[in-house]
Symmetry: C2
Subunit: 144 residues, 2 copies
DNA sequence: GTATGTGCAAATCATTTGCATTCTC
DNA sequence: GAGAATGCAAATGATTTGCACATAC
C-alpha cells in the first residue's frame, strides 16, 4: 500500500498542484501520531521540532488533504475545527466525554446499510457520514 | 405538554436565571419556523420583524437553550454554528447535500441500541448523538 | 435592593487574504 | 520561465467581553 506521502504526490500530480517539502513535512507530522489535531496544535508540534512552517501553509493545505481523503473533519470544539488522519484506517465513529474531552473510537457497521437505504430513498450519492455520540465517562459521571 | 416558553421559564427559575421579554422573543422566533438557524440569520429575522434584540443577547442565551434541551447544535458550516430547535420533536439525523446544502431529516431507531451498547461497553452515561450523512442530491450528482 | 440582563462598542481569536519572494515542474 | 506555494503582516468575521444603564425577582 502506498504511504500518505505517495498518495499526496499522486493527488498533486493529477490535480496539477505542486508538492513541496513544507507540505510533506506537514503530512508526516499529521501521520506521526494517532492523535486528532487542530491547526494550532499541529503548528506548535511542528514548531517544537524546529520545522519552520507557517500557519497559512497549513490552512492552505487542509482542503487538499480533505479532498484526497487523507484526513477528515472529526469535530468542531472550542471554536476550532479538529481533524484526524484516516488514510489507512478503518472508518470509525467517536464517543466523546463532555466532561474531560476523552475520545473513544468505535466501529459501527450498520451505518453502511443505512447509507444504502438513504441513497435509494432520497436519490443521493453518499460520500460519507459523521457520527458522534457524547455523554460522560465513568470518571466524569456524577460531576454534572 | 408545556410549550417552549414555559419550559424556559421553569428552567430559569430552577437555575436562578431571569426571564426577560427579550429572551422570550428570541425563543418564540426560534420556534416560529422549522428551519435551522445560525445566530446571524436569527438576528436578521428578528430585525425584519422590528424586534430590537442585540446579537450578544442571542449569543448569551444559546448556552441556556442548549442546557435546557430546547435546541441543539445541528452542524457547523461556513464558519458558523447552526442550531435547530428540538423540543417537541422526535430525535432525527441529517442528510446533507454537499452541492446545494439541501438538508433532509430522517429518523434512525437503531442508534438507541447503539447508545445502550456503548454505555455498557465503555461505562459512559450517554447524553445524545449527532449523525450527519453527506453526499450529493440527485440534482447535484455529477456536477462534481 | 441586588444581582442579572441588555445594548453598545471594543476586544479576541480562528481563519483568510494580499503581496513580494521563492521554488516546482 | 510561468504558475504555484511560502511567510509575513494585515484583513475578515464570528463570537466574547467590559461597561454603564435598565429591569426582574
Amino acid at each position: 500500500m502506498k504511504n500518505e506521502i505517495e498518495v499526496f504526490r499522486e493527488f498533486a500530480r493529477e490535480k496539477g498542484l505542486r508538492n513541496t517539502p513544507e507540505r510533506e513535512t506537514i503530512i508526516r507530522e499529521i501521520f506521526a501520531t494517532h492523535e486528532h489535531f487542530d491547526v494550532d496544535e499541529l503548528y506548535l508540534r511542528l514548531k517544537r521540532k524546529k520545522k519552520k512552517i507557517s500557519k497559512p501553509s497549513i490552512y492552505r493545505l487542509i482542503p487538499y488533504l480533505l479532498e484526497s481523503n487523507l484526513i477528515q473533519e472529526a469535530y468542531f470544539e472550542d471554536g476550532r475545527q479538529h481533524y484526524e488522519h484516516i488514510y489507512g484506517h478503518k472508518p470509525h465513529c467517536h464517543l466523546r466525554c463532555l466532561g474531560c474531552g476523552k475520545t473513544i473510537e468505535f466501529e459501527e457497521g450498520s451505518l453502511k446499510r443505512l447509507e444504502k437505504k438513504l441513497a435509494e430513498k432520497y436519490g443521493f450519492t453518499i460520500k460519507g457520514h459523521k457520527l458522534e455520540v457524547f455523554g460522560y465517562c465513568s470518571k466524569c459521571s456524577g460531576n454534572t
